[in-house]
C-alpha cells in the first residue's frame, strides 16, 4: 500500500497459431503493460509485420467510416452491452456490408447537404436583392439596355461623394436608392462607351454590384418572391430526407454499433501485435505484470497455449528501477486521492506513494479550515450525490466527488469540535474550542500541526533516500537528516525564546543548530570527501563560503515560511465563522423580524460560503499539500503504467 504495485518484467514466446488467444489472455485485466519490441526478430519477418500494419490501417479506416455513418444518423457512439470479442474481424466479409449501409446513408445525407447549400445560395441572393425591393425596375432589362450601361450595387456611404468626383469627366447619373448602417444601395448609369470608366470607378469605390443568375428575372420584389418560394421547396425536400434518415437510423443503428465494436477490438488487437517481436514461427511479447498476478497469468497462458515459453524476473525496487512502470493500487477508500498525487506527478517505482498521507491530511486540513456541521453536511451530500452519478449538474465534479464527500464529513467533525452549525455558534456546544474566540490558540495549534507534518515530510524524505542508498541526500540534503536536526533545533530554540516558562533543553537545541548549520554549509565538501573527489572546494574558499552562506540562509527562510504557511489553516477556521456572521448581519438588515428576506439572505450566504469559500479552502489545502508537504519528500518522474486492453469499454 505504501509503495507502488510490485512489478515483474515478463517475456512470452508464443507460437503463431496461439497468438490471438494469448494476446486476449494478457489483456483485459489491467495487469499487463506492453513494451514495444517490434525491433526484435528476423529481417525476413518484416513482411509479416507489414501485413499487420496494413491490417491495422484497414481497421482504422473502417472505424472512421463507421463513425461517419453514426454521425450522419445522429446516433451516439456507444459500446453495445454484453458484446464480447471473438476472433479478428474478417474484412472481406464486413466491408461489403459497410459499403452498402454507407451508400444508402451517404446518398440521403448528400441530398440534404445539396438542398442546404441551395438555401444558403438563395439567402445570399435575397440579401443582395432586399435593399432594392422598393424599386419597380426589371434588373434583367437594365442589363440588356442598348445605349446605357448601368450598375446597381451596395457601397460604403462614405465613398459616394468621392465616386461622383471620380466620374466627373464623363456624363453619369447616380441615384442613391437607400442608405442604412453606413451602406448605400446605388444605381449609376453612363453611356455605353464609358462603361470601362464606370467599371474602374465603381470597383475602386468598393461598390459591390448585384449579381443575379440569368434565370432570376423581374423586379427585385418579384425576384425576392421567387427566391422565398425556392427556399420553401428546399426546406420541404430536406424534411423528407430527414424522415428517411430516421428510418435508416431505426434499421441500421444497432448493426453499425456492433460492427464498430468488432472493428475497434480488431484494430486494438492488431495494434498490440504490431509491438511484438517476430521470429519465424513465434512472436515475442515483452511487458510488465503485477508481481502478485504473475503465477495466475502464467497458468492461464499455459492452459491456452502449452507450447508458450513464459519467463519473468522481478526488478529490485531500489536499484535501476527507473524504467519500471508505476501502478498505484491503493485501497478503495484512499484511491480517489491518487488523482491528486498524479496531478502533481507520477511517483517513482522506488519511492513511497504519498496517496495514503494525502488521503488523511487533505480532508483533515480542509475540515480544520471549513469546520461547520451544516456546511460540511451540504458538501458531503453534494459529494455523495455526485458519486451516485444520478444528478446531472454535479457531473462536472467527476473524480473529485469522493474527495468532496470526505472533506464534507471532516468539516462536520470539526464543526462539532468548533460548535458551529451553518455559521450559528450558539446552538452547539463546542467539543473543543471556538476559533473566533480563541484566535491565538488556534493559530499556535495549526503551526504546531504544521511542524509535525513537516517533520513527517523530513522523515519520509530521509527514508526514501536511505532505501535507494543515496547517502548524500539522506544525510546532507536540506530535507535530509542534517536538515531535520537543524529544523527541529530551530523550532526548539524558538519555543524556548517565546515561551520561557516552559523548561526546555536549550543547550541541546543550540548544539543541534550548530551541527545543522555546519553540516549543511559544508555538505558539498563532505559529499566530495565521501566520494573521493578532489579538490574538496572548487573556486576558492571565499566564493564557496559566500555561496554556502546564502544557500543556508535560503534554507532557513524556507523552513520558516513552510512552517508559517500552516497558519492559514487557523486563519481560515477563524474567517469561516466571521464570514457567516457577515451574512447574518446582512440578513438582519434585510429583515429584522426574521421574515422571508432573512432566510433568502441566509440561503445566499450558504451558497456563497459552500461554493466560494469552499473552493478557496480547497485551493489552499491543495497548496499546502503540494508545496509544503510534497516539496519535502516527493520527487515524482515515474513512468505511468498503461494496461494493455483490447476491449473498447475498458479503454474508456
Amino acid at each position: 500500500m505504501f509503495y507502488p504495485q510490485e512489478m515483474s518484467e515478463v517475456e512470452i514466446i508464443v507460437p503463431t497459431k496461439d497468438l490471438l488467444p494469448v494476446t486476449k489472455a494478457i489483456s483485459g485485466q489491467g495487469i499487463f503493460t506492453q513494451t514495444d519490441v517490434n525491433y526484435l526478430g528476423n529481417e525476413k519477418e518484416k513482411e509479416q509485420n507489414n501485413l499487420w500494419q496494413v491490417k491495422a490501417t484497414q481497421y482504422a479506416g473502417l472505424e472512421r467510416r463507421l463513425q461517419t455513418i453514426l454521425s450522419s444518423l445522429s446516433v451516439k457512439d456507444a459500446n453495445p452491452k454484453g458484446r464480447s470479442f471473438g476472433d479478428l474481424l474478417d474484412l472481406e466479409k464486413v466491408t461489403p456490408i459497410v459499403d452498402e449501409i454507407e451508400n444508402e446513408v451517404k446518398g440521403t445525407v448528400e441530398s440534404i447537404n445539396q438542398e442546404t447549400k441551395k438555401i444558403e445560395h438563395y439567402n445570399n441572393l435575397l440579401q443582395q436583392v432586399e435593399p432594392f425591393s422598393d424599386i419597380e425596375v426589371d434588373f434583367s432589362e437594365l442589363k440588356n439596355s442598348r445605349y446605357v450601361y448601368s450598375i446597381i450595387g451596395l457601397m460604403p456611404s462614405d465613398g459616394i461623394e468621392r465616386l461622383k468626383t471620380s466620374l466627373s469627366r464623363v456624363p453619369f447619373s447616380l441615384t442613391v436608392l437607400s442608405q442604412k448602417n453606413q451602406k448605400a444601395a446605388v444605381m449609376i448609369a453612363v453611356a455605353k462607351e464609358n462603361s470601362d470608366t464606370l467599371d474602374r470607378a465603381t470597383r475602386s469605390a468598393y461598390l459591390d454590384p448585384i449579381t443575379l443568375p440569368e434565370d432570376q428575372k423581374g423586379t427585385p420584389q418579384e425576384i425576392s418572391t421567387q427566391l422565398k418560394s425556392s427556399i420553401v421547396e428546399s426546406e420541404k425536400s430536406i424534411a423528407e430526407h430527414k424522415e428517411k434518415i430516421n428510418d435508416l437510423r431505426g434499421k441500421y443503428s444497432s448493426q453499425v454499433l456492433d460492427i464498430l465494436w468488432d472493428v475497434r477490438c480488431s484494430r486494438m488487437s492488431t495494434n498490440a501485435i504490431l509491438h511484438y517481436g517476430r521470429l519465424k514461427y513465434t512472436y515475442i511479447i515483452v511487458g510488465w505484470v503485477y508481481q502478485s498476478a504473475i503465477e495466475t497469468l502464467k497458468e492461464k497462458i499455459k492452459s491456452i497455449s502449452p507450447d508458450t515459453i513464459f519467463e519473468y524476473h522481478t526488478t529490485n525496487r531500489f536499484h535501476d528501477s527507473n524504467d519500471v512502470p508505476v501502478a498505484l493500487t491503493n485501497p478503495k477508500l484512499v484511491r480517489p486521492f491518487q488523482m491528486m498525487v498524479k496531478m502533481y506527478d507520477q511517483p517513482k517505482y522506488s519511492e513511497l506513494d504519498p496517496t495514503p498521507l494525502v488521503a488523511i491530511l487533505f480532508p483533515l486540513m480542509f475540515g480544520a479550515m471549513f469546520g461547520d456541521v451544516g456546511h460540511g453536511l451540504v458538501l458531503a451530500v453534494l459529494g455523495a450525490l455526485a458519486m451516485s452519478k444520478k444528478v446531472k449538474f454535479l457531473k462536472f465534479l467527476g473524480g473529485l466527488s469522493p474527495i468532496v464527500f470526505a472533506c464534507g464529513v471532516m468539516s462536520m467533525i470539526f464543526g462539532f469540535l468548533y460548535g458551529s452549525i451553518f455559521g450559528y455558534e450558539e446552538i452547539l456546544h463546542p467539543l473543543w474550542l471556538q476559533p473566533g474566540t480563541n484566535i491565538m490558540t488556534i493559530l499556535v495549534i495549526t503551526i504546531v500541526g504544521g511542524v509535525v507534518v513537516l517533520t513527517l515530510g523530513f522523515l519520509i524524505s530521509i527514508y526514501n533516500a536511505f532505501k535507494v542508498k543515496d547517502w548524500a541526500k539522506a544525510i546532507f540534503n536540506h530535507n535530509g537528516l542534517l536538515g531535520l536536526i537543524l529544523y527541529l533545533s530551530l523550532v526548539g530554540l524558538a519555543v524556548s525564546w517565546l515561551a520561557s516558562s516552559i523548561k526546555l533543553p536549550t543547550m541541546v537545541f543550540l548544539i543541534g543548530t550548530i551541527i545543522g548549520v555546519i553540516g549543511l554549509m559544508f555538505s558539498e565538501v563532505f559529499i566530495r570527501m565521501i566520494e573521493g573527489h578532489h579538490p574538496y572546494i572548487e573556486g576558492g574558499f571565499a566564493m564557496f563560503f559566500v555561496q554556502a552562506f546564502f544557500e543556508l540562509f535560503e534554507t532557513v527562510i524556507s523552513y520558516l515560511s513552510n512552517s508559517l504557511s500552516f497558519v492559514r489553516v487557523g486563519a481560515f477556521a477563524v474567517a469561516h465563522g466571521n464570514l457567516s456572521a457577515v451574512f447574518f448581519i446582512l440578513a438582519e438588515m434585510v429583515s429584522p423580524s426574521k421574515g422571508i428576506g432573512y432566510w433568502i439572505m441566509f440561503l445566499v450566504g450558504l451558497i456563497f460560503i459552500v461554493g466560494f469559500e469552499g473552493l478557496i479552502v480547497g485551493i489552499q489545502t491543495m497548496r499546502l499539500t503540494y508545496y509544503e508537504i510534497f516539496g519535502k519528500f516527493f520527487n515524482g518522474g515515474g513512468k505511468q503504467f498503461e494496461p494493455l486492453t483490447l476491449h473498447p469499454a475498458e479503454n474508456e
Partner: protein, 351 residues
C-alpha cells in the same frame, strides 16, 4: 477653454516638456551613426532612455527587429502616460491616433498570412500595443487564411470597412484593396475627430495632423499614378477629398496627369530644387517624402512655442517621438545589414 482643460493641459505641458527634453539630440544621433555595428549601436542605446526597454530581452536575443519592438514599447507607455491626462473632449483624437499603429499591425498580419509567415517572424514586426489592441494577432496569423482572419475581428471597428474590401479580395486575391480601404477609413475617422474638437484645439490639431494627412494623400496620388499606373478615377477613389494645404483639386490634377513638379512647387514654394528632385520619380519620391516629413517635424517643434494650454504640444511630441524611433529603426536595420552610412543618412529625419 474650460478651467479643467486648462489645468489638464498645464499638467500635460509640464510632463511633455520633460519628455521632450529626453528626445535624442543631433549629437546623440551623430554618435549613434558612428556605431561600428549592431551590437555597438545597441550598447550605445543602452545609455539612453531606451535602456530599460532594451533590457527586456537578453543581449543574445536583441536582433534589430527585436530591439525596435522594445523601443516601440517606450512609445506605447509614453502615449498612455500622456493620453490619460488629456481633457475628456480631446481623448477621442488620441484614441484614433493610436489606432494608426493597430491599422498597420492589421496590415502586417494580413501580409504575414499571404506570405505564409509564422508567428515568430511576425511577432516583433508588430507595434507593441498590449491591451490597446483588440486584434487577436497570433490567432489571426495561425488561421493561415485572410478571410478567416478577418472573421475573427468581426466585432472590431474595421470589420464594416473590410466587408466591402473582402469582396474585392475574394475576386482579385491581392491585399491592395484591403490596405487602401483600411488607410482611407483611418484618415477619414481621424479627420472627423479633429473637426469635432472645439475651436482653438481644432486649429492646433489641424496644424499638426493636417500636414501629415497632406503628405500621405499626396504621396498616395503620385505613387498610384507612377508606380501602379492607376486610372484617374481609381486614383481619386483611393485618395482623400480633404487636407490642410493640399486640396482635392491638387489631387485630381495629379490623377488627371498634371505636372507633378509644378503642383509640388505651387504647394510648397519653400522646397528648393523640386524639378531636379523629381526628374527621376522613382528615386526622387522617397527624397520628397523626407523633405515633407521634415516640414511636418518643424511644425511639431513649433507647437512648443506659444500657448501652452493646447492639444498641439502632446500631439507634436508623440509625432516627434515616433519619428525618432523610426530613425532609430533605420539605424538598427542599416547596422544589422552592415550598410555604409552614406546609403541611409539621407533617409533620417532628425539628421
Amino acid at each position: 477653454m474650460a478651467p479643467e482643460a486648462t489645468s489638464a493641459y498645464a499638467s500635460i505641458n509640464a510632463r511633455v516638456r520633460v519628455m521632450y527634453s529626453t528626445l535624442l539630440s543631433k549629437q546623440d544621433f551623430s554618435n549613434l551613426l558612428e556605431a561600428s555595428d549592431l551590437d555597438n549601436l545597441i550598447s550605445q542605446l543602452k545609455h539612453t532612455a531606451y535602456s530599460p526597454y532594451l533590457d527586456r530581452a537578453k543581449d543574445k536575443q536583441l536582433t534589430a527587429r527585436r530591439a525596435a519592438f522594445h523601443m516601440r514599447e517606450r512609445w506605447t507607455e509614453t502615449y498612455h502616460s500622456i493620453a490619460s491626462g488629456i481633457p475628456e473632449y480631446a481623448r477621442s483624437v488620441f484614441s484614433q491616433l493610436i489606432r494608426y499603429y493597430e491599422v498597420n499591425n492589421l496590415k502586417a498580419i494580413l501580409r504575414g498570412i499571404s506570405a505564409n509567415s509564422d508567428w515568430s517572424h511576425v511577432r516583433y514586426v508588430l507595434f507593441p500595443l498590449g491591451s490597446d489592441s483588440s486584434i487577436p494577432a497570433e490567432a489571426m496569423l495561425e488561421s493561415h487564411n485572410v478571410t478567416q482572419a478577418i472573421e475573427m475581428i468581426s466585432n472590431s471597428p474595421y470589420y464594416e470597412t473590410l466587408s466591402f474590401a473582402m469582396k474585392r479580395y475574394s475576386v482579385e486575391q491581392t491585399l491592395f484593396p484591403i490596405e487602401v480601404a483600411l488607410d482611407l477609413d483611418y484618415w477619414r475617422e481621424l479627420w472627423k475627430e479633429v473637426k469635432a474638437l472645439p475651436k482653438p484645439d481644432q486649429d492646433y490639431a489641424t496644424k499638426i495632423l493636417g500636414p501629415m494627412i497632406d503628405m500621405n494623400n499626396l504621396m498616395w496620388a503620385i505613387r498610384y499614378r507612377t508606380y501602379h499606373q492607376l486610372s484617374e478615377e481609381e486614383i481619386i477613389n483611393y485618395t482623400l477629398s480633404f487636407g490642410y494645404h493640399v486640396q482635392d483639386a491638387d489631387i485630381r490634377s495629379i490623377a488627371a496627369g498634371g505636372d507633378i513638379a509644378q503642383i509640388i512647387k505651387r504647394l510648397y514654394p519653400d522646397i528648393a530644387g523640386v524639378d531636379e528632385l523629381l526628374q527621376d520619380l522613382h528615386s526622387g519620391l522617397p527624397k520628397l517624402e523626407v523633405l515633407l516629413k521634415r516640414r511636418l517635424l518643424r511644425q511639431c517643434n513649433a507647437a512648443f512655442v506659444g500657448n501652452p494650454f493646447q492639444i498641439g504640444i502632446p500631439l507634436g511630441y508623440l509625432l516627434l517621438f515616433d519619428q525618432e524611433i523610426q530613425d532609430l529603426v533605420v539605424l538598427l536595420e542599416a547596422k544589422s545589414n552592415k550598410l555604409p552610412v552614406e546609403k541611409y543618412r539621407s533617409l533620417l529625419q532628425l539628421d
